[in-house]
Symmetry: C2
Subunit: 216 residues, 2 copies
Amino acid sequence: MSTIERREALRETLIEVAEKAIANGGLAQLKARDLAREAGCALGAIYTVFPDLDALTLAVNARTLNRIDGAMRAGGRPDRAPMDAKRAIARLVELATAYLDFAIAQTGLWRALFEHRLPAGQTVPDDYLAQQMALFRHIVAPLEALQPGLSERARLMLARSLFSAVHGVVDLGLEEKLTAVPLPELRRLVVLLATAMGRGLLQVEPEAARGRSRRH
Amino acid sequence: MSTIERREALRETLIEVAEKAIANGGLAQLKARDLAREAGCALGAIYTVFPDLDALTLAVNARTLNRIDGAMRAGGRPDRAPMDAKRAIARLVELATAYLDFAIAQTGLWRALFEHRLPAGQTVPDDYLAQQMALFRHIVAPLEALQPGLSERARLMLARSLFSAVHGVVDLGLEEKLTAVPLPELRRLVVLLATAMGRGLLQVEPEAARGRSRRH
């Protein structure tokens, strides 16, 4: 292997080892010494491929975003024709439950997405932000069917907002201190929320939401 | 003044001075030296009443939560009779717009609520958490009218989730980098979201959300 290939191989190994550590024990379990031992490299070798553990965590989180994207994509039939309203509501429910199911199956990885904070002054790379945005895009498609009158920008904001709503319920439901929510109840609540949002958005005329001062 | 009274007076002055600094310049503007000058006290005197600037920030944020609580309470008529569905939907819209209006009027204080992070290992005091919870309680009341079949716990989770949804739109709308959303459009979007959630929740039978396997 060339030096470049070796570095690339070590990078991949470290991401896999770190992913396993985060999946099993959460971010708090991520220790350079353990990672080096698991990866079979010297401690210092980690820093030849990642500037610090934050960069490694960001690489794991990017992979997690990809996995969630895959899970959300999975249920989506590539409808050629525009979605009708019924399908759009069903799609919102699919997306919300796909997200819940991922969070249940991969709680450690999922939680690391929200727990990880870059040190002050560092900003999240653009391609990571683009991956986050890809998740919201899944929600934009059904919103087009439910609220065709909205601007693209408003639809994207609404998509992020619905994501926040579902994320909020999932987050509370899986919170360690509050283990009192049985998973079937949590799933029902997520379905209720997604269904209600879909039906409600279909019902509200965009004009109604524009207030009484504007009439066409 | 007794020593206790003097300490209490200094504490109040520091909170007011810090509140003004955060309101005008955000958390980044909070500097002990400036605070001491504004409060007319020695630099070291700050630390006789607050262990550190994080504790002072938390005191300002607690006051901000109280202000938001007041704004959300304001529109609420103390309905003796249980709310009907129409009033419940209107109430959700009132709460969402009260929150938006506060965030617009006091962007610095509002942003500090979400930007401030305690140092690792420190946890938020219980009474601060109780104040956060009070905001969600405003949303629980209309949810009782819209989804009477839900458990109290599920209703509280839903209330927090709706709060997240509205907060998400407000947050994006007021984000500094994306100044492109005109306020009237943002207000329409918040009204649309709250109306849709209200109407949707009213429409969805809790049983429907429980899936087809359970019928009465």
